[in-house]
Subunit: 228 residues, 2 copies
């Protein structure tokens, strides 16, 4: 479902300085695959996820999603492709502060014109699945850190996207909530959901079928979870 | 340095609903103490830290910091007391988006009227201690998640406060960066720094001399790290 070749991402800083966030990354994910991406802080994991998820343009390299070469698509078409195919769980959560938990979760559905009752039914189901059945009406500021993270997870799942890109989905969660979320994602994967998950937690990474490690903008290691 | 008795925090939700975030919490920390606070998502850890740190007023209960009863102080005096005595590391980091890493770190010093050169020297030293020596001039949006978290840590340390309250300071950090931060905090504690640290990571909690566990707004367990 995903193929990336030679991804480079440079961030110019001033006139003669540059951060080489990605220095030539190749990545493959089969349909229904489950990959965990690990590496030190600043190694390029979020950058790779953002480029793969079309939220950021690579400085060099090519990217294919669902058979289509995204690096050849005009930028104007990317938001559409992204909304249909990709569910993003952001490292910083990115909830809309003026909307409550349920409204945040159903936002993609309402955007598509889904009827209010159907959106409410689907959003409620997902909030219950992440253990927030009694927090629908809370605003993000009225939720704990881990609760905000779980709302973001529910939102990414609401459209049943072809590919889920999760950036540290259990970063703020205790072991019980982490297990709840990972069982949920693992269950979806068993039903065919493709998943790339960034994590620094080996317990979370162990749910994946492959672990890819980064360092300084490069992939330096690849293994199956049995070898962790 | 800290004493809390009977802390209750209720959040009214609508006319007949209420979240009981804290249901009667007692807490003690000796000068130079190091306490880790653990518990499930939503159990009240951040709320307890915010109340202890005077960022939030308890619905009931009493609080003493450095010998002074804060629950008897007029609200107008609290920001002053807080700025002098407490260094906060927030779960969501709370950096100022328009200021770069160095400016964010030295903000408390500049607020106090510290000369620019002295602030710069102190801020640079702290950024280097958290491994961000080459990221001074980056804005928060130009930093990775873990880098933003480390800037927030450096900022909390810049005033050498009597008490540091850290809410999940390693939540977005890989094991190497976590160890760097915990060695730094542990080192400060050995020099007399008082610390309360919320975490869901047992490795991080193991640096503390006591671990307090919460569940549903109450403290349910207390132990020394040897018993983890
Ligand atoms: N402003 C608010 N209004 C209503 N409810 C709130 C508010 N802030 C927090 N809560 C609720 O209070 C409970 C405790 O929140 P708190 O942030 O202290 O949890 P926590 O232990 O820090 O959780 P986490 O590990 O997920 O960060 C949560 O269930 C949350 O939904
Ligand atoms: N907009 C930007 N401008 C300049 N540099 C950037 C920008 N965004 C990220 N960087 C730098 O690129 C590097 C990679 O960032 P990235 O967010 O991908 O790291 P990461 O692996 O996700 O780290 P973490 O585990 O801390 O979240 C970092 O060192 C960061 O400072
Ligand atoms: Mg990241
Ligand atoms: Mg919290």
């Amino acid at each position: 479902i995903l193929r990336a070749r030679g991804l480079v991402k440079r961030y110019p800083m001033g006139t003669d300085n540059c951060v080489n966030a990605l220095r030539g990354v190749d990545l493959d994910l089969r349909r229904g695959g489950f990959l965990a991406l690990m590496g030190p802080s600043g190694s390029g994991k979020s950058t790779l996820l953002n480029v793969v998820g079309t939220l950021d343009q690579p400085s060099e390299g090519r990217l294919w999603l669902d058979g289509r070469e995204l690096t050849k698509e005009p930028n104007s078409r990317l938001p559409d492709i992204r909304r249909r195919l990709i569910g993003f769980i952001f490292q910083g959560f990115n909830l809309i502060p003026s909307l409550n938990a349920l409204e945040n979760v159903v936002l993609p559905l309402r955007y598509e014109g889904s009827p209010k009752s159907e959106a409410r039914r689907r959003g409620t189901e997902l909030l219950e699945m992440v253990g927030l059945g009694d927090r629908f009406h809370h605003l993000p500021t009225e939720l704990s850190g881990g609760e905000q993270q779980r709302v973001a997870i529910a939102r990414a799942l609401v459209m049943k996207p072809a590919l889920i890109l999760a950036d540290e989905p259990t970063g703020e969660l205790d072991s019980t909530s982490s297990r709840l979320i990972m069982e949920l994602l693992s269950g979806l994967n068993q039903q065919g959901q493709s998943l790339i998950l960034v994590t620094h937690d080996p317990t979370t990474a162990a749910y994946a079928e492959r672990i890819v490690r980064m360092r300084d903008g490069l992939i330096v290691d690849e293994e199956g979870p049995a070898e962790v």
